[in-house]
Structure formats: C-alpha cells, structure tokens
C-alpha cells in the first residue's frame, strides 16, 4: 500500500497553496476596497472559506474516500465530464503560470531589474516540473520543508511593535470603501487554494483527521494574513497604505538589524517557495485531471506538456497590470470552481445514493 498523507502535512500544504504572492499587496487591497480598518474583514473572508471547506468535507463523507473523478465518471456521461475536465485543466494551468509570472515580475523589479522575466520564469518552471513529477507525497514533504523556511519570518513583525500606533487605526470601520463587490472577490481569491484538497481524497487516510487538517491550514493562513494586515494598518497611515503598491515589501525594507539592513531582497527570494508551491499544486491538479481525461498517457509527458503550455501562455501578458487583469478573471473562475465543483459533486452523490442513508 502506498504511503498516505499525514494531517500535519495536509495543513502545511493547504497553507502553502493559499499563501502566495498576494500577501505582498493584501494590506493595500484591504485598505482600498474595505476602507478604514479593512483588516477586520479578514476573519469574515476566512469564515466564507471555512464554509467552502465544509462543502468539500460533505463531498468527502458522501463519497467514502473515492476520488472526485470516480464520482463524476460513475454518474455522468462522458459528454458532460470531458468538457468539465478540460475547463479544470485550463483554469488550473493558467492560474499556476500567471500567478508565477506575477511573483516573478515583482521579484525582478526589486532584485534583478534588467534580467529578462521569462528567463527567471524558466528556472522556476523547471523546479516546479521536477517537483510535480515526483508525486504528491514528495510535494507535501517539500512543502513542509519550505513551510519552516518561511513561517519564522512572521516573527519579524515584532520589529514593528515600536512604530505601531493604535491611533493610526482610527475608530472608523469600513469607511471610504470602494468597489466592495469586485474588491471582495479579489481579496477572497487570496484564500483560494484549499479547493485543491478535492483531489487529495485518494491520497489520505480516512481515519485520521483529514478535514480537520484542512480547516487548520485555512486557520493558519487567516492568522498570518490577519497579523500582517493589522501591523500594516497600525504602522502606516490609512491614505498612505492605499497608495502603497506592495506594503509588505516596504515593511520588510524598513527592518534594520544591527548587522544588516534592506533585508527585503533576501525575504523576497525566500518567499519564492510559497509561490512555487502554489504553482506546483495548481499544475499538479491540472495533471491529475488530465490523467483522468486520457488515462493511458504517461504522467511525465502530461506534466511536461502542461508546464510547456503554461510557459508559452505566460509569455503573453507582459506588464504587471496585464498580469493583474488576467489573474482577476482567473480568480473569478477559480472561485467558481471552488464553490461550483463541491456543489455539483454533492448533487451527484445525493442523487446517486438515492434513498441510501447518509453516514
């Protein structure tokens, strides 16, 4: 029997997929869209994500640990299933490659201003490819190593206790918010990533708290997002925060240790791993789906083709604003998948199980 994923690894994996490049500008989005004290909205978004995870947990219970592909294929005709698969493959692959591109543009601006972007992208894609072909167990182990590499940096926030002013928070809540609906979707997309656990069903041990681990992963993301945003709202003045493109980078740039300053470049390189995990997992998910679409195909070749496609597509959007626009629409689609897929699966399972008692 194959090795199963440990709940702790699942929590870490969920956190690593969720946290990505978005964390660099989340505080600004909160200030722009949610207005004064926008950080308060984070727990609300987290509750929505938790509800979504609850839907996934129903699928897991009703499906008795079967993979979502088995569930779909046993009740739906191939005419319906294949377009769904294709849609999933396209969205996940694109999401993986465009999110990577966004991180790389950011990285390039700060660290290598004149190196070609696609050159760095190639290097990242090679690492992602090597991880994906090793399978989900190895990905999760790598994720755990990467997790310890980055999570300690949250302690750096204690550096800002001295400059933090309660009076900067102001007694106003959600005033001067703009585009709340569009903004909410953009902010919520920073929580996305947990929906990929739908594909982990065959790889987990049902006796151990699989779903609890997913909830915990999401909770961890919430805590990290909340602490970063809270510090930003207290350390910067509100209007200033709405104008800062990447508040977290500025925050890191402010840190001065007795032996070194301007550490943001080191941290930016370190945070590559969180983005790398998001890319890897989205393309891994696309690969899994593609394997169900063409069961006889070689997994390595599928991965290679997807990574190459992703690389070619990511050539198209060139400027940061273009990438952001693409990501916005891909975020909508991923959001649709995050809610739509579990709902569809629940419907299938309820109809299929018919009068059978639900455990």
């Amino acid at each position: 029997m194959k090795e199963k994923l440990h709940p702790f690894h699942i929590s870490v994996l969920v956190f690593m997929i969720q946290a990505g490049v978005v964390v660099f500008f989340l505080p600004r989005m909160l200030a722009q869209y949610m207005g004064y004290n926008g950080w308060v909205a984070i727990p609300l978004f987290s509750v929505v994500a938790t509800f979504n995870i609850f839907l996934i947990s129903i699928v897991y219970r009703l499906g008795d640990g079967r993979s979502i592909f088995q569930i779909m294929e046993q009740s739906l005709s191939k005419l319906i299933v294949y377009p769904v698969y294709t849609y999933l493959i396209v969205v996940w692959t694109l999401l993986g490659c465009i999110a990577a591109k966004q991180y790389i543009i950011l990285f390039q601006v700060f660290v290598f201003p004149t190196t070609p972007i696609m050159y760095i992208k190639l290097l990242v894609d090679i690492i992602a490819f090597s991880l994906i072909i090793k399978g989900i167990y190895n990905i999760s182990k790598a994720a755990t190593v990467f997790f310890w590499m980055v999570i300690w940096t949250i302690l750096m926030l204690t550096f800002f206790i001295k400059g933090f002013e309660w009076v900067n928070l102001t007694p106003f809540f959600f005033k001067e918010s703009t585009n709340v609906v569009v903004g909410s979707i953009s902010i919520f997309s920073s929580f996305l990533g947990y929906e990929l656990v739908l594909l982990l069903f065959p790889y987990v041990d049902s006796k151990k708290g699989f779903m609890k681990a997913v909830y915990f992963g999401n909770f961890l993301t919430t805590i990290v997002y909340l602490s970063i945003s809270f510090v930003c709202f207290g350390f910067y003045s509100f209007k200033q925060l709405t104008k800062m493109k990447f508040p977290l980078v500025d925050l890191l740039a402010y840190i001065r240790l007795p032996f070194v300053e301007r550490v943001e470049n080191i941290f930016l390189a370190l945070y590559l791993v969180t983005s790398l995990m998001s890319i890897t997992m989205y393309i891994w998910a696309a690969t899994e789906t593609a394997k169900s679409l063409i069961p006889r195909a070689n997994k390595r070749w599928i991965t290679a083709i997807l990574v190459c496609c992703a690389f070619v597509v990511s050539w198209i959007p060139n400027m940061l604003s273009e990438v952001e626009l693409w990501l916005k629409y891909l975020g909508y689609m991923a959001l649709g998948i995050a809610f739509g897929l579990p709902l569809m699966l629940i419907a299938i399972l309820v109809i299929h199980n018919g009068g059978k008692k639900i455990a």
Binding site: V111, F112, T114, T115, L123, I126, Q240, E261
Partner: protein, 386 residues
C-alpha cells in the same frame, strides 16, 4: 535517454545560472550617499523653474587631491568623495545628466540623506519625495533634512575636520536624534504624516556655520510646504509634547521664573506623554499630560539639592518653565495652522467618521483650547554632595 536529458539540463542550468545578467561590480558602482535639491537660479527667457540637484559619492579608492571637473572634493585621511551637480526639470532626469559626468554606474541603494534647500522647501517637496518612495532601490529609512540656506552650497563644501560631508551630516543627525534635538524624519515617517489628515510632517533643519554644519532646529511643514522653524533650544520641549522619549537633556535658565542667575540641567530624561480630548460646545479642550523624570547633574543657585523641599521647588520651577514654553510653541503652531504634534489624530479618535470629515480640521485646530500639564521628577542628583 532520460539520464542524458537530466545531465543536459543540469549542465545547461549551471552554465546559464552562473553567468548572471544583472552584474553589480563594486568597483564600478557609484553609491550615492547624499542628494541635495535646490531651486536653480532662473535664467532669462526660461519659463520653467528648474532644479539644481547634487549628489555625493564616497570614493575611497581614488588618491587624495585629484578631482574631476565638476567639483570633486578632497578630504583628509585619504578618503575622497565625488561631487556631481546637474540642472534639470525633474530629479530622475538629473540622474541621467549626472551619470554623464562619471565613469561609475550611479545607484541609490546606499542613499542615506536628502537635503532640501529652504526656498524649495517653501514651495513644497512632495513631488521629489514621491520619486524617492517610488524607487524600489531606495530605503524607506532615507533621511529628509531641510537646509537653512542653499543645500548645494552646504554639501559642496569640505569641512576640514570632517572628511566626507555627506557622512558627517548623516552621522550628526543620527546622533542628535537620539537625544531628541532633532526628529528622526525618514521617507517612511514623512510619507506617513503627509498622508495622514490628523498630523503635519516635520524634519530637522541644518545650517552651514564657518567650518562646520550646525543643527538649526526643527522645520515644521503644512502638508509638504515648510512653514516655520523651532529653535534648537526648544527642540526638547517639542519632543516631549510629540512623543514619549527615553533619552535627552534639558538646560533650564530659571531667571524667567523670577530666580535670577539660577540654572539647572536635567539629564537622562525619560518622559511619558498622554493626550486627553474633551469636546466642549463645538470646540475641543485638549490636555497634554507630560511626566518627565531625569537626574540633576548641574545646578547653580541657592537651593540645596539634599533637601526634599528644595528639590520639589526645583521640580516645580522646571515644570513651570516647560509648561510656559510648550504653550507658547503650541500658540505659535496654532497661529500658523500646523498640527505638527498630531493632536488631530487624538481628536479624530473621539469622533465619528461623518463628524471628523464635516469639520475643517486646520481651521478648527486654530481655535482649540490646549493646555499642558507637566510633572517633573528628579530621580537623583549625582554622586557628590555640596
């Protein structure tokens, strides 16, 4: 087959990754240490007001005395600096002009201080600061300093006892900010206060005096325009009103309190400041409570530091002195409609969003009633008795 591919990839990576594209060779870089901004003297038939921008670049490698045409300064101790000046419309344009004057690649990663000439500061400096905060290579800790006079002249000069002018000013400001004589105004702090509607930015102000540069007090801004200056003698009182301090010194001449020829100096000041806002019939009453403790290392006068009663008299006299000066400063700031103490932030905290925005803060600020309550405590009085 796969092994061959893997080998090929490894070799390809090794070859490409190590041949870095973004090269930065230390010897070929010119690390700008200080930049100065001034209004350029206006030429006839010139419609646009141009800027005079100068930079200093430390050059430890070049021999002493040799200088480039644009005014390289030589210093003692074998360290040189390169000094470049350009006249242009914008600050980034000047970078291109400056770059034409040197063989080094100019980089701003080590920029420590920016000096603004007084005439420019009076016109507003935000558009220049905006370029600085936009540039990812510039640290948010870069200092902002106003020069009482011409910044270019102050920076171009070589001061005999201070080999590198840029570094000399930077270190002096760093040191003086510890004892609260000048505020620590960085890009971060200035931007923060500029965008906050409840406070106005401040910056240190310096001046050229013969063979040295001297701290000339604190420059107070309304938004980004220089409005008034606080004398260095009163800097410490301003600091006490603005925030909690953990280090500082105050020298008090008690003749103002009807005690002629009596002086007292309090060192190792530690203070705590709290602000209480009470709304009063469409206006506000603001109490600034300041608690200061320090040790007396110098007292010239008739009282006996050993006696509790006399010590408490000195405490009262010093409190009275600080209070009078503080209230005078506030009245001055109110008259100029600049809220450098950030009282607006405290008042904002007591109001609803609608009320705060309905009120025109700079106008209201002028009429609010501010009172200072100062409590001085003498912690100790040295290790020798009279």
């Amino acid at each position: 087959m796969l092994k061959v591919l893997r080998l090929f990839l490894t070799v390809a990576l090794l070859v490409t990754v190590t041949g870095c594209g973004d090269q930065r060779i230390l010897e070929r870089l010119g690390f700008i240490q200080t930049t100065s901004y001034d209004l350029a003297p206006r030429k006839e038939n010139e419609s646009e007001q141009k800027l005079m921008i100068s930079v200093t670049i430390p050059r430890p490698d070049s021999g002493s005395g040799s200088g480039s045409g644009s005014g390289s300064g030589s210093g003692t101790g074998g360290v040189n600096r390169e000094f470049l000046t350009a006249i242009s419309s914008t600050s980034k344009e000047s970078r291109i002009i400056l770059s034409r004057q040197t063989e080094l690649q100019l980089v701003s990663g080590q920029l420590r201080n920016t000096l603004f000439g007084l005439s420019l500061a009076k016109q507003g400096i935000w558009k220049h600061i905006d370029t600085l905060v936009r540039d990812p290579s510039i640290s948010p800790r870069v200092k902002i300093t106003v020069v009482n006079g011409n910044a270019h002249d102050l920076l171009t000069k070589n001061y005999p006892f201070h080999p590198r002018t840029g570094q000399y000013i930077d270190r002096m400001l760093e040191k003086e900010s510890l004892s609260q004589i000048v505020p620590k105004t960085s890009l971060y702090q200035f931007t923060k206060d500029y965008f906050d509607d409840g406070i106005d930015p401040i910056a240190p102000i310096i001046k050229e005096v013969g063979d040295s540069v001297k701290i000339d007090g604190i420059a107070l801004f309304r938004k980004d325009r220089y409005i008034m200056r606080i004398d260095p003698k009163q800097s410490i009182i301003f600091a006490l009103m603005r925030a909690d301090i953990t280090q500082g010194e105050i020298s008090v001449d008690l003749s103002g309190e009807n005690r002629n020829n009596e002086h007292v100096t309090l060192s190792s000041l530690v203070s705590h400041r709290s602000v209480k806002v009470t709304p009063r019939k469409g206006n506000f009453h603001v109490d600034i409570n300041i608690k200061v403790s320090g040790s007396v290392l110098e007292y010239i006068g008739v009282l006996d530091l050993e006696k509790n009663k006399d010590r408490s008299t000195i405490e009262k006299l010093v409190s009275q002195y600080i209070r009078t000066d503080a209230e005078q400063l506030i009245a001055n700031m109110q008259q100029n409609r600049i809220d450098s103490l950030g009282l607006g932030k405290n008042i904002r905290s007591t109001l609803s969003y609608a009320k705060w925005h309905k009120m025109n803060w700079p106008d209201t600020y002028r009429n609010i009633d501010v009172q200072c309550h100062v409590k001085v405590q003498i912690k100790d009085y040295g290790m020798f008795t009279k």
